[in-house]
């Protein structure tokens, strides 16, 4: 795990009133900012809201969108909804995991990608789909398209405009 330097979380926390109802919104905000929930931050949240750390931890581990370990630069959500399932999503997922040398959903050793499965993102008409970084939805996936999809995000660091013109829409969508 790389050494993650913890930026100052106070300004984020200060935006919220000290009310229990804000626990999940704060965790979501932290998750979005740091891509995971660092232990120190959970302690701070517990203190701020006066909610026992055990309960903060209980909430953080109950909901699917939270992660207690750092996630990769790009998060790929492979949809495993029913429509995607019957149209071949499990094979697409397997291929992606094989290509990234992952035994199961998780983060690659270089922290470039995190692959996770998601229960339907509501694009069932375009199944099977995957969404990258919570914004770019890739429709009608096949095993053959997996390599290209990964490459686009891998290449991004060196060539930001690498997306093909006909695919650029997904990057903006």
């Amino acid at each position: 795990m790389p050494q993650v330097e913890l930026p100052n979380v106070e300004p984020l926390l200060e935006q919220y009133e000290d009310r229990r109802i804000n626990l999940i919104p704060i965790l979501q905000d932290v998750q979005e900012t740091y891509r995971y929930l660092p232990q120190e931050v959970l302690r701070k949240i517990s203190k701020k809201l006066r909610v026992p750390l055990t309960e903060v931890y209980q909430v953080a581990t109950f909901y699917r969108c939270f992660s207690l370990v750092p996630r990769g630069k790009h998060v790929i959500q492979v949809c495993l909804g029913t429509a995607c399932h019957v149209r071949g999503a499990p094979r697409v997922l397997d291929r992606m995991l094989r290509d990234l040398k992952l035994a199961g959903p998780g983060t690659t050793g270089d922290f470039e990608f995190t692959v996770e499965t998601v229960r339907c993102i509501g694009c069932c008409g375009l199944a099977p789909v995957a969404r990258v970084d919570n914004s770019n939805t890739h429709p009608h996936l096949t095993q053959a398209k997996v390599g290209g999809l990964l490459k686009r995000y891998q290449d991004k660091a060196e060539a930001p405009n690498a997306a093909k013109p006909d695919e650029a829409s997904h990057a903006k969508a």
Partner: protein
């Protein structure tokens, strides 16, 4: 927009907007999540560029709207006022589209919908078979309005129901209208909405809360998302009318975080409604004070259950509690609370405007109004469909859905998400209403309708749902937590060819036990996918157990890949995609598959053009 100060000002505003309605052509592009994934944003950008290039910005309008429903053919658009419907549009078509508008609306032939049976091009949306059979009372405005502009909603009659209620309706009259209309909860269980509202009104405890359940967790369902994305004000208007009738001053809308666009549009809509004086203090000078808060879910299927959803809003883990007490007795923070689904709230303004009797005239004896289904899976026309209750599955699958792709046979229709069940093709003339579906071992659910063809293995489907439910079971009650695990284990065993004859009885017994003894709706309906497939597709289970054979050729442990040397042209495509070097053979000579190396991923089958890859 200025602040509206009375109900009559809403109507004046509408008249004013109508008066300013120009005859300018308008290209309204679907920018829902589906069409965006198909490239709608690019289409919008290139249309804007084209108008700019030709100096036509003031002459032609471009509107970015919510979901039109026909996701399969996206990106789709309508050109007003001719109402020309284009599908499968790409950014390179912008020039042709603008040209056609400036040249007297001669339609762009290649972008018109092509009827697959007749080969004829269809000019208007309402003549496309997918739309022709629908009755879109909730979704009809999606193609007309920009969800980020409240004026568009007001122009099509939005907030006029609220104005009417605040002028002419007593609180009891609103509740009675909803009751008389026969509106039932659109979230799944179908509880009569008017009865729920009446129960809340009996409580003397204050404050009262109302909640909009937009935690659309059923995989394969996306109508709530589309309504919030495309017409958020219709839901807000329903909530305000509800707040008036139920004397609630605060509402919570609980939306899945997986729907970023819906969240974005809802935030904009709430802000605009506040600025317009439709939310806040003394709404339209009626004395009604009402605010809407938005809560984002955090990815837990069980939070669609009302008591779990309430726990989640309160900042706790989403664990349900036994009912009674029902939320109308003790809900959010222990106060009386009404929870209704997105479509239920959006139906309220329609009932007020068109009348309870009109609404009750649509549908069947006990299921009134329209229902929105997401028609997905192995079907030609995937998308969102709004139809009157009582329509048959045949009409849905063949008239609207255009049948099964590649000439395959229909096997089953899975309705109602993980809580629902699979209905076999033999029951295709079943009318769709709450009672008929429940009797058939399925349920209406939130309206997800996944079509399955001969290539879908029903044991695999049951296993899929059980994996889902095992993971999403909150773990509070024993029957659901342990039961879903055991069912999944048995199903995995069967799908691997390791099942035993006694497993069938075990699945049945355990299924009924979980159904009878679980705490909440999740557990009580969890065995449905297993029980319904056992009921209608027992032969498939038996084939897996007795013959160690998967009839649909899906279950990996029971299939073998082979290449037919007579068909293989040696194109090498399969060799290139195989990651385990299992496909052997030189180029231009027929290939073979080394079954010891083959991991049965099916990549070769996917790319083989001459269809030489066989599965046994």
């Amino acid at each position: 927009m200025q602040k509206l100060k009375s109900p009559s000002e809403v109507n004046e505003m509408r008249l004013c907007l109508e008066a300013f309605e120009t005859t300018r052509p308008c290209i309204s592009v679907c920018a829902g999540s589906g069409c965006k994934a198909s490239g709608a944003q690019n289409v919008l950008d290139s249309l804007h560029r084209e108008l700019e290039r030709r100096g036509l910005e003031g002459a032609i309008d471009i509107k970015s709207t919510g979901c039109h429903g026909f996701c399969e053919k996206g990106p789709v658009m309508i050109v007003w006022p001719e109402k020309v419907f284009y599908n499968g549009v790409s950014q390179s078509d912008a020039k042709d589209i603008v040209n056609s508008v400036t040249n007297g609306h001669k339609p762009v032939e290649k972008l018109l919908y092509k009827d697959p049976t007749t080969g004829q091009r269809v000019l208007h949306e309402h003549d496309v078979p997918f739309y022709a059979r629908q009755q879109r009372i909730l979704f009809g405005n999606n193609g007309k309005i920009d969800p980020k502009d409240i004026r568009d909603y007001i122009k099509v009659g939005g907030y006029s129901a609220l104005a009417r209620v605040l002028t002419n309706f007593s609180r009891e009259q609103v509740v009675n209208s909803v009751k008389r209309a026969g509106l039932r909860g659109r979230g799944g269980a179908g509880f009569p909405t008017g009865t729920k509202w009446e129960a809340l009104r009996k409580s003397k405890v204050r404050p009262r809360y109302i909640i909009c359940n937009a935690d659309e967790g059923d995989p394969g369902a996306f109508m709530d998302r589309s309504l919030l994305e495309g017409n958020p004000h219709s839901v807000i208007e329903g909530l305000i009318i509800g707040a008036y009738a139920l004397e609630a001053s605060e509402a919570y809308v609980y939306v899945r975080a997986e729907y970023p666009l819906a969240v974005e549009h809802l935030v904009v809509a709430i802000n605009q409604a506040e600025k317009a004086g439709l939310l806040g203090d003394n709404i339209l000078s009626s004395g009604l004070n009402f605010r809407i808060h938005l809560v984002e879910g955090a990815g837990a299927f069980v939070c669609g259950e009302e008591t779990a959803l309430i726990a989640s809003i309160e900042g706790r883990v989403g664990e349900p509690h036994p009912r009674p007490p029902y939320p109308v007795q003790k809900g959010l923070w222990g106060k009386p609370t009404v929870i209704n689904n997105v479509k239920t709230w959006a139906s309220v303004p329609v009932i007020v405007n068109k009348g309870a009797d009109w609404y009750a005239s649509i549908g069947t004896e006990r299921s009134k109004g329209t229902m929105v289904f997401s028609l997905v899976g192995k079907i030609n026309n995937t998308g969102l469909v709004e139809v009157p209750m009582g329509i048959t599955l045949r009409q849905m699958i063949y008239d609207i859905g255009g049948g099964i792709p590649k000439g395959k046979q229909l096997k089953a229709i899975q309705i109602g998400g993980p809580s629902g069940g699979c209905i076999p093709a033999s029951m295709i003339d079943l009318p769709i209403d709450y009672e008929a579906l429940t009797q058939a071992g399925s349920m209406m659910g939130s309206g997800g309708m996944v079509v399955m063809d001969e290539d879908t293995c029903m044991v695999d489907v049951a296993r899929y749902f059980m994996e889902f439910l095992e993971e999403e079971s909150c773990g509070k009650c024993f029957p659901c937590r342990e039961g879903t695990q055991r069912l999944r284990e048995i199903l995995v065993r069967v799908s691997q060819g390791k099942g035993e004859e006694s497993d069938l009885g075990l699945l049945d017994d355990a299924g009924w036990m979980i159904k009878e003894t679980s705490l909440c709706g999740l557990g009580q309906t969890a065995p449905n996918p297993v029980l319904s497939t056992l009921r209608y597709f027992r032969d498939e289970y038996e084939a897996h157990i007795r013959e160690k054979r998967c009839p649909a050729k899906v279950c990996r442990e029971l299939i073998v890949y082979e290449i037919d040397p007579a068909i293989c042209d040696g194109c090498h495509a399969c060799v290139r995609v195989c990651t385990t070097e299992a496909v052997l053979g030189e180029k231009n000579k027929s290939h073979t598959i080394d079954s010891a190396k083959c991991i049965k991923c099916g990549a070769c089958l996917e790319v083989c053009q001459p269809k030489a890859v066989l599965v046994h």
